[in-house]
Amino acid sequence: MNDGTAAMASEKLAVGDHAGLRIGTWRWLGIGALIVLAAVLPFGLSNYQVFELTQVMIYAVAVLGLNILTGYNGQISLGHGGFFAAGAYTAAVLMHRYGVPYWATLPPAALVGFALGLLFGLPALRFEGPYLALVTLAMAVATPQTLKYFSWTGGQQGLHVVKVLPPAGLPIDRDRWLYLFVLVVLLIAIRVAANLLNGRTGRAWMAIRDHPIAAAAMGVDTAGYKTLAFGISTLFTAVAGALAAIVVGFVAPESFTLFLSISFLVGSAVGGIATIGGAIVGGFFIEFVPNFANDISDAAPWAIYGLAMLLFMYAMPRGVIGSIRPLAAWLAARLKPAAAVGEISATSNKASTPQQTSQGRLE
């Protein structure tokens, strides 16, 4: 998974190009193989499974947005379901009322998400931790009723979205086309997120998360960067919402309840909040665990869901990716030729240190 951190990137220079390049090459090969696998996977699965995986990727994009805010900038949001809804309705209204093609609705949805996030990020500057969570909770609880208010949203009845068909001439069905479309968006989202997080913006976000006073003392514009984190985060989540509207083909206020916001947070925590790969794990959790719980027990599916959540958090308190990473680094160090061991273990140790502090703070 491409979950390089800024710390890792900056350490590479100090460690020396030799080892850095080798790790980089392997990593790119691995990523390439994963992408190819993801692209051919739907052709071996049933339509329903393809649809499920498409949903997983949509949730992954949404959780990725939340990870940027919560994991990398230390701000908790219980309101991302509301931003997801904003993106979904932007796409649905544009398609339903103005006949905009589905792919062209993503940039406006991103813009709406970004603008809303900035607006929300400004007052959020005054709040920390649980207080910020409460402010964002307001967004989540207000969304369904607000959507019912306006007639251009279709009110209580919701809006139908024009059915998306694959481009004429392509020998591919609707489900697989949408899967590939969403896959491309997910890859772009991961790439953009990785670039941001590995660069100065990401370093500033993490510095603010780990020690806001020190960050300010070093000249980081904390207010600006925190607001920006909010905007970028909600941009991702709104794009995910637009994808959901396109894939499901229908939006209604009931689609975006408080529970959706909480699901995102659960997915984020289970996957690993300060990771990019964790977003994908989170997507799998959001999509499959409720169904799995229902299959086990009709009577008490939510008890099973809760139990699954407890097990995950107990076994892997830093989330799946957050917990696997130190293990993988340790394994990699063991397997490398002796000459490189010192360098690599130095890299991985330093890379994981800031993560642990931050996770500890947020738990």
Binding site: Y48, Q55, K148, F250, P301
Partner: protein, 405 residues
């Protein structure tokens, strides 16, 4: 997803692509049906904001279990798969796809709620899977030309308005009618139904006012309607606003003949909220035997229903009229499956559902029957009017039919 499932799915992918979800005629059986089994899918809000309706799914399941215990339908057992969509449309889409594509159900039955049903409407019709008897009364489910795989069960909102129109034309021929309606498809179904039902006399409607569900009150709308000089008022609302309207009409001293849509006529909700004495004389409509009405409680039909409820562990719900509705709906499903005989294809299920001829059900009001045809997917077109006496609804007059002239 287990490895086994994935492997199976991979192996059957080719088959699936060819089938494409279509009901290919493999002998006399469509997907989900065999010599021993009939698979039926359903979604219900067992959790979430609408979870009080979950009891409908429990009644369905209990009824099918009883039919199975009695030997099933033509020797076949019903497998009823009911999943919790929490009233969330995207979840409904996902679950319905799972049931159609993976569990391979023959049909979807009694899926609850207008938004969830809207979300699966296109999918089920594209894939030619019956969407039978949903728990919603919107007129759009009766559109066999464009959606030949979807059939209504509840008397549609428009049907109910037709019945009020017929009563008004006969008994209040000089009425000046005012309408208060919710500003969405639900409210407009009632308004349009009334216009339709009045036909050439549609100009009897002299004033209409709408409200949004986010409005704090409907006081100003009621005052405006009174100012129009109307002497008949139709309220097409949800319980909260219906209660407000009834109270306001009473408080400003307006005394029109009031009609209240049946969705909002709950004694414990609307009438209690408005104040029982303020609702005396209001007219509404019904089509099932209310289990709390003493006049039914000595009939064999009621006793049979009560025994079923008690035996199924649903004794706590015997005052809930919705359980009677679900019971009757499940009986309709069984009647359609029986009529389909050994030809259990999706096409034949729709054909049988569209061939109901004056089907009688024990817990529908005497005289009300179900009839359908190839261009009429609205089975229940009769209702009986009832008047509120300050405590409960009292049926009066004859069963009125929405159609015919």
């Amino acid at each position: 997803m287990t490895v086994k499932q994935t492997m199976l799915a991979g192996l059957s992918a080719v088959g699936l692509i060819i089938a494409g979800g279509l009901a290919y005629a493999a002998g006399q059986y469509g997907p989900g049906a065999s010599d021993t089994e009939i698979k039926i899918g359903n979604t219900m809000p067992y959790s979430g904001p609408a979870s009080s309706y979950g009891v409908l799914g429990k009644v369905d399941a209990a009824y099918f279990a009883m039919i199975n215990a009695q030997g099933g339908i033509n020797g076949r057992k019903i497998t009823f798969i009911s999943r919790d969509d929490s009233y969330s449309p995207p979840k409904t889409v996902e679950l319905v796809r799972q049931m159609v594509e993976q569990d391979k159900v023959l049909l979807m039955f009694h899926t609850l709620g207008t938004p969830p049903n809207m979300a699966i409407h296109g999918y089920l019709n594209d894939n030619k899977v019956p969407q039978l008897f949903p728990a919603t009364g919107a007129d759009q489910w009766n559109d066999p030309k464009h959606f030949p795989w979807t059939m209504l069960w509840l008397p549609s909102y428009g049907t109910e308005s037709h019945i009020y129109a017929r009563y008004i034309l006969k008994n209040l021929p000089n009425a000046k009618i005012a309408v208060l309606y919710q500003n969405d498809d639900y409210g407009k179904d009632y308004l349009n139904g009334l216009r339709d039902g009045l036909g050439a006399k549609a100009n009897m409607i002299i004033a209409t006012q709408s409200y949004e569900t986010s409005d704090p009150t409907v006081d100003s709308q009621v005052v405006a309607l009174q100012a129009s000089g109307a002497d008949v008022l139709l309220i097409a609302a949800i319980p909260k606003f219906a209660a407000q309207a009834i109270r306001k009409v009473y408080d400003i001293g307006w005394k029109p003949t009031q009609f209240l849509n049946s969705v909002a006529n709950g004694v414990g909700t609307t009438m209690k909220g408005a104040g029982f004495e303020k609702g005396i004389g209001i007219i509404s409509a019904n089509f099932v035997k209310d289990p709390t009405d003493p006049q039914w409680q000595n009939t064999p039909e009621y006793k049979e229903w009560l025994a079923f409820m008690n035996k199924s562990g649903l004794a706590a719900n015997v005052t809930d009229v919705q359980t009677v509705v679900a019971y009757s709906n499940a009986q309709t499903m069984v009647a359609v499956l029986k009529a389909a005989g050994d030809n259990l294809t999706r096409e034949n299920i729709m054909k049988q559902a569209a061939s109901l001829h004056q089907l009688k059900l024990p817990m529908l009001l005497p005289g009300i029957t179900l009839s359908t045809s190839a261009d009429d997917f609205n089975p229940i077109k009769q209702m009986q009017l009832e008047k509120f006496d300050g405590k409960t609804w009292q049926l009066f007059g004859e069963v009125i039919s929405a159609s015919g002239s």
